[in-house]
């Protein structure tokens, strides 16, 4: 059985946000709505300073708090590991936003245009599937997976920091990377059991 997962190599990530932009333009999300983002952290004191970039998206947890908490059944765990989202069921309780420790769920208050003089032509196509007052999030680009393609973020990353594949397959690139590089999940102590692994 396939179990989809992702590795994010923090040694390769340059923080360029190409993944963020690929996600945004593939999913056509309204202003302010992101399924993924890159969080930066500066540490050290001058001149011994560093900054790391941590790309974040839905961790597609094996024990996802959003699934358990949502009163409307918006979120569901698929057999292939993806935490799916059906925003049409959402009535705006926003409990998901509170319980997700990874801040992976966005809430569309109101769809407003990017264009300073109204909707730009692409926006008219972009927002067809969105409704104000609903929660949305990353679904690992299920539609692309069905076509045999990697998620948009993985496919575009110029430095190839993101990899995607079957965690159940010991020979998949992600499984090998997790083993060889000691892949770690975020906040393991919370028991959410994410399927996104960070390589440091």
């Amino acid at each position: 059985m396939t179990k989809w997962g992702m590795t994010i190599d923090l040694r390769r990530c340059m923080g360029c946000q190409s993944c963020t932009m690929a996600c945004k333009t593939k999913n056509g999300t309204p202003p302010g709505i992101f399924y993924r983002r890159v969080v930066e952290k500066e540490f050290g004191t001058f001149p011994n300073v560093h900054r790391t970039y941590v790309p974040m998206n839905c961790m597609h947890c094996d024990d996802p708090p959003c699934v358990a908490a949502c009163p409307a059944g918006v979120f569901s765990k698929r057999p292939d590991g993806i935490v799916d989202v059906d925003s049409s069921k959402c009535y705006g309780a926003r409990v998901c936003r509170i319980v997700c420790p990874y801040d992976a769920i966005a809430f569309i208050d109101e769809i407003v245009p990017y264009g300073e003089k109204g909707y730009l032509p692409p926006e008219k196509y972009w927002y067809e599937k969105f409704e104000s007052g609903t929660a949305v999030k990353c679904d690992f680009c299920i539609d692309r997976l069905e076509e045999g393609l990697d998620p948009a973020c993985v496919k575009t990353c110029p430095s190839e920091a993101l990899k995607f594949g079957d965690l159940e397959d010991p020979d998949s690139e992600v499984s090998k990377l997790i083993r060889s590089r000691g892949g770690q999940t975020l906040n393991p102590e919370l028991g959410t059991r994410p399927n996104v692994y960070y390589l440091t």
Partner: protein, 849 residues
Amino acid sequence: MSDKDVKTVKSVCYMCQCADTGIVGHVKDGVLVKVEGDPECTPTFGRQCVKGLSAPFVPYNPNRVLKPLKRTNPERGIGIDPKWEEISWEEAYDIIVPKLKECREKNPLGLMLNFFDYPTYHLATPWSIGFGGQLYFGAATWCGWYHNTAYQYHLSFFREADYEHTNYILLWGAQAGHIVDALPVHSAKEMADARARGAKVVVIDPMMTPAAALADEWVPIRPGTDLALGLCFWNLLINEFELYDADFMKSKTNAPYLVGADELYVRDPETNKPLIWDTAAGKARPFNEVATEDTALFGEYEVNGVKARPAFSLLAEHLKQYSPEVISPITTVPVDTIRRVCREFGEAAQVGSTIKIKGVELPHRPAVCLSGRGPTAHRHSMHAVFCLEGINAIIGNLNVPGGTLGFAPYYKKRWGVTEDEDGFALSCNSTYFHFGSLDTYPAREPKKPAWYTLLDLCPVATFSDNFYPMMLSLPPEERKKFGLDYDIDVFISTHSNPAVYISPHEMTEAIKNVKFFLYFATEMNESAELADVVLPNSHWTERYDPIANPPFKFEAVGDHEWYWFFRRPMIDPPPGVQHWCDTMIELADRAGFLPDVNQLYNILNELNGSPQELELDKRYSYVEMSDAVLQNRYGVSVDWYEKNETQVFTEPKDIEEAFPGPFVPGRCHVYFEYWKRVKPEVEKVVKELGIEDVWDTDDYTPLLTWTPCPAFEPKNGFDLFAINYKVACHTFSHSYTNPLELEIGHTYPWIYRTPIHASTAAKYGIKDGDEIWIESEFGYRVKGTAHLTEGIHPECVGTSGFGGRLTRGAKTGRKVSPNWNTLVGQRLDLMDKMNSSLDGCVRVKIYKA
């Protein structure tokens, strides 16, 4: 967004100047809804950076220019309404064509064409030269000045690291490999691969840029002192560590050339060739007659009755003054750090080692030094750039595996490299591909300037474009002193934003001196708002560019295939809008000089005598003209790309083309005798013009020398430097009107806010998030929001990219961040007289707003 009815079109990205990636545009009902990297485009790994992905919003800019516009308000300036009147194309031609005819009749040099549009150089240049006018590439103001060295060291206009075979990457005020330099996408993967392989990255920069933040080591430096540190590196590599490539010095540079007391070569009386001391023969012999192993780099000899020393010996002695102990207080880089980084770099170069690639044994120099704009855009730019790029020459890494490689200098071995009579390598005729940028050796004959760029006064510069705005800003009587006794009657600009690329307020005043200003615009911007007539221009997503990545420009280096990109429209241009080059052909036709354009096109593109030679009296489209060059130069055609429904043509590259260093003839300079030799000629012209008071020739010295910038010493309370750095999500001014890029830019505080070191902020009583003024010594100030960080040199405040747009048209991006260019002083005394570089050292003070 449903994928039903979505048409896909293969094209080439052009969100920055690079044409770096093959893309697929997704089009629904004629609307571009998505752009992504083309997975079938192998040279760019099917990937796409943040800028290109945001392309769908750009052609639909609400301030897009869709109709020809005529100014009705005679008053011009920033923020002043031009009171546009929409006119028809015929009406526009009726205004423009007589201006062209009058100018051509009166003085064709009164026409200036300004463009920064690489795919169109092959046509735009013949257009302007065919008219009899001048050229100005514009956006070069803040270019990396290394182009001045590239023709000599890399036999090309651009160079890049051979990441695949290198182990040590020194980024000197540069972010190569981090999505902001040439080949952003290609190099990002190669950089990441190199790093994963264990290559060490060290970044020398006053700002902890994204590249510096990820580097193994960030070495903060005081702005404007890179030349001092660079010379210290030369000194350490040559004198203290002896980690230079002696064989390379002897055989591929002028280091062994014997120099007399007059600092000029000692030449053979019979052949006039420069001499080398032959240790085996015990006498001086012409450079081409001495074996490498018998070549002397040190010593003093009696030759032709005069005392002579190898240039290298003079260089080594000259460099001794630049010890770490002397240089550390100048640069603020600790003595130990200087020694350690330099030694690491020198040792990583593995001088003497070889590598076998595809069965061919080659020199292997796996250490590179790449300089960027910051360290070289200075008053003494020419010395800085030859010093920093010359570090590569010292370790012998030029055009060999693991080192620095030129972009396509040896394509099909016919864009050849030849050797001149003094033994120096001449890259193939650079004007062939990048008209207006010239080889920097040999020196041209200095003359009274014909062009506003004063190129005739800069005989060893690849271009001298910054003098153009400087000259334009002068009153006519002042300008006459430089030999420019004519006005600019017609100024045509496109793919450039000349009103703002130096000091916007001063440039705006300068442009007022133009008699007639025609601007080709996709969207309303600062320059368009100063124009007399604005003509709509198709956006790159709507146009053909059959030669999308011209050679010498954007072509991955090293052991990869050759690839030539073809841009095709993903969407239709708005009704009545066409490629600016087709409009230019129309203008030439109507004004009666199209045969001259065709003639120059044949000459400059070397079509004469070929089956593709243009008929002089025939009118061709831009695509037809491009096709002639495609067929003639690459043996491919527009038809081929269309038939194969692709955007990329690839050809195999052999090892000699990939690493031409050992296979091409000729030497390069580490001792700049030709500067010294041309100096009196420059001085003669300067004296004839009577501009000695403003035009010094002090930098024409054969040995690279540290001289502080005027801003080196703090003065009158202006005790900080305002610095500027590039970020991945922005390029030039136009990206600041793209709401997608702006939204991404807000993610990080160091993009739109003003980074200040926490200790500096404390000194000024500034807290994180405070609104502050940054005021420069030149009388301008910009507002920013303080971002306290440890990641910046304490003597600096940072600004990124090109925020703070001043255009009336767009609300988007107007006040998003402080505009650094506003702070810069546009003054002749701040410019390098050798290459026109304007000093980017800007002293400022900050205070709460």
